[in-house]
């Protein structure tokens, strides 16, 4: 009953004209950045973070959330029609989606991707609505040791699941924590690694770091190689899948939804992992695995459902524990903090209109996305034909404007350029930016909870293993750390990393 009352309150907020507008802008921009290769939800959200300041917290966060789940929808269009994923979670959709398009079945591939995404997105919202209040009640019992260990687990899992060397991923996580700690110490007010620059006393801004590592670095990487895009020229035709397509895809959608939702909740997990796991699962249980990669509709339906369900599931740790499980949620945390709000177990009781407003807006946004992605597919195809040489100067301009607007300081533009070059070099040398950014956001919380735990225990580290939740998290983190040493797990991890490249 509480849930229904809350949802009613949420719809009252989400259906306000201004929030409907922000929701529409969010899912529209999300679909656009999903469609366009070279700019993803992370760049788009950091770009628009300053824009959220001009409205109410509800409007801003509704828009940011819309960009995230909107990009999951839009990403499939590029994968299917151009064989270039619009964003990382749609990489696997290229395999069978583009094969279907080459066989003249682009319509059903796009249709099943949109309908599967809608079904999965809706399931994830219902599950979020049911699970979040219970988890929030449990989370109230969390103290500093539990928070510290949970964050350690999140960073370790993210490093474990990163492509390539785990040592490099852990190194990036450590560097991210370090960057997050630059600025004034929260307890002693001592300046730390500020090099006498006043601009650094408040720490390095999230927006310049993210825009540099994801926006500018992506452009620099794309510029040095020719991007070849070949949009399927044949008429796309009817989008509605046939009965046979439905029969083949329905269980894949269901399995992808459930799997994606749970992988989305896991700290360090997310839409990318979910889509790959779903594809692997579908191929494994199929009676005709040889069809995969050659236009199997299950290979489109499962991963697309999984990445959308994961996008919904990822809201749970953020909303209930205040801990972002991935980079996109870290940005959303930034949006909350900009508005003076702290997501966590108390959000539901202290700001129920905000919490339920976001949940209700996701129902509305999902319906908007179905409308945007089914009848307007022709428009997105036209957008795809924009050459990159026209796009990249505009993206660069938006990066500079977004970064300047976030802090009203040119210093931030230089920080962005510096991180852009660093991100470009990191890609060259095989270092991933995702653990760095997540650790950058978690760094201050991690240090704060570590210091509080040690003060509480009078310097006794056993506080982290005496508490069951904390001990469980640390054991799981230790297993993830030890995994590369076990041959079977190391092979599996290498396979996941190879699949992702």
């Amino acid at each position: 009953m509480d849930i229904l009352a809350g949802l009613g309150q949420g719809f009252a907020v989400a259906l306000q004209p201004i929030n409907l507008l922000y929701c529409f802008i969010g899912v529209f921009i999300g679909t656009l950045v999903g469609v366009l290769p070279g700019i993803g939800p992370v760049s788009a959200m950091s770009l628009l973070l300053p824009v959220t300041l001009s409205g109410t917290p509800e409007s801003g966060i509704i828009m940011m959330a819309g960009i995230y789940y909107g990009s999951m929808y839009g990403g499939s269009t590029t994968s299917i029609l151009v064989n270039i994923p619009g964003e990382a979670a749609s990489v696997v959709t290229c395999l069978d989606g583009h094969a279907m398009a080459k066989q003249g079945r682009a319509g059903p591939a796009l249709g099943i991707a949109a309908l599967g995404s809608f079904a999965a997105g809706t399931f994830a919202i219902v599950a979020l609505m049911l699970v979040a209040p219970t988890l929030a009640r449990v989370a109230i019992a969390f103290g500093p040791p539990e928070y510290f260990s949970l964050m350690v687990l999140g960073l370790t899992i993210l490093s474990f699941l990163s492509q390539g060397s785990m040592a490099k991923a852990l190194l990036m996580a450590a560097f991210g924590i370090l960057l997050g700690l630059i600025g004034m110490d929260q307890i002693t007010a001592q300046a730390r690694l500020t090099f006498d620059r006043l601009e650094l006393l408040d720490g390095i801004g999230l927006v310049p770091v993210v825009m540099g590592l994801f926006g500018v670095a992506e452009i620099l990487s794309n510029l040095e190689r020719e991007l070849k895009r070949e949009v399927i020229q044949a008429r796309i035709g009817g989008l509605w899948p046939s009965l046979a397509d439905w029969a083949a895809a329905k269980w894949a959608v269901l399995r992808g939804t459930v799997l994606g939702f749970f992988l989305g909740i896991l700290p360090g997990g997310g839409a990318v992992i979910a889509s790959f796991a779903s594809y692997a699962l579908e191929k494994k249980i199929s009676r005709t695995p040889e069809r995969f990669g050659k236009g199997a509709i299950e290979g489109v339906a499962g991963p697309e459902a999984a990445n959308n369900a994961a996008a919904g599931g990822a809201f749970i740790p953020l909303m209930t524990l205040g801990i972002p499980p991935n980079v996109v949620m870290a940005l959303l945390l930034g949006a909350f903090i900009i508005h003076g709000l702290q997501p966590g177990p108390l959000l539901m009781t202290q700001k129920p209109d905000l919490f339920w407003g976001i949940v209700a807006s996701m129902y509305i946004g999902n319906a908007m996305l179905l409308v945007l992605n089914m009848p307007l597919i022709g428009m997105w195809v036209q957008v795809l034909k924009l050459p990159y040489r026209v796009l990249f100067p505009l993206i660069l301009m938006f990066c500079v404007v977004g970064v300047f607007a976030s802090g009203n300081a040119v210093f931030d533009v230089f920080v962005m350029v510096m991180f852009g070059v660093l991100g470009y070099l990191m890609r060259k040398f095989g270092y991933e930016p995702a653990p760095l950014v997540l650790a950058f956001v978690l760094g201050p919380m991690l240090e704060n909870n570590l210091r509080k735990s040690l003060i509480l225990s009078h310097g006794d580290f056993t506080i982290f293993i005496e508490r069951p939740i904390s001990a469980t998290c640390l054991v799981l983190a230790a297993v993830a750390l030890a995994a590369p040493l076990l041959p079977a797990l190391a092979r599996r991890r290498a396979r996941v990393a190879m699949d992702q490249t």
Partner: protein, 154 residues
């Protein structure tokens, strides 16, 4: 061995790790029951140094791609030019102003770095610059530097 990119990557992070260890000690480690401001820095620096040493060790044992191969066959000159242009843009942004700087940046990028049709570049540059300026200053009420155009823009 000296051209091994993995080795140089590892050494770079090792140097940063070592610096952070030193900086953490300088800030003050405090005691275990009352950690000081440098406590976390010190331990993170040690962790970074240990991980970097692992990467360096791996590079010495197993080797790695040569540095030159990372840029072989790429258009790396464009990367240098765009980075330089962004830095120049940052220097002039406040003094010269958003509109002239952005117009110049977009035109240089579209005429010289990755050229589009010569007549198309000014249309896109003008529309994008003035569109963004209007959206930011009029709609979102976010001030962008007027610079030399302060008199004209008010």
């Amino acid at each position: 061995m000296i051209r091994n990119s993995e080795l140089w990557g590892g050494l770079f992070w090792l140097a940063i790790g070592a610096f952070v260890v030193w900086a953490g000690r300088e800030m003050g480690l405090g005691r275990l029951h009352e950690p000081g401001p440098g406590f976390a820095f010190f331990w993170i620096g040690l962790l970074m140094s240990a991980l970097s040493l692992g990467i360096v060790g791996q590079a010495l044992v197993s080797g790695g791609p040569p540095l030159s191969s990372l840029w072989a066959g790429t258009r790396w000159g464009k990367v240098l030019v765009v980075t330089g242009l962004l830095l120049i843009y940052g220097v002039g942004f406040e003094a010269i102003g958003f509109i002239p700087c952005t117009l110049a940046l977009l035109l240089v990028l579209m005429w010289f770095v990755d050229p589009v049709d010569w007549w198309l570049a000014p249309i896109i540059a003008v529309a994008a610059t003035f569109g963004v300026w209007a959206a930011m200053t009029k709609w979102l009420k976010i001030q962008l530097p007027a610079g030399i155009m302060a008199g004209i823009l008010g």
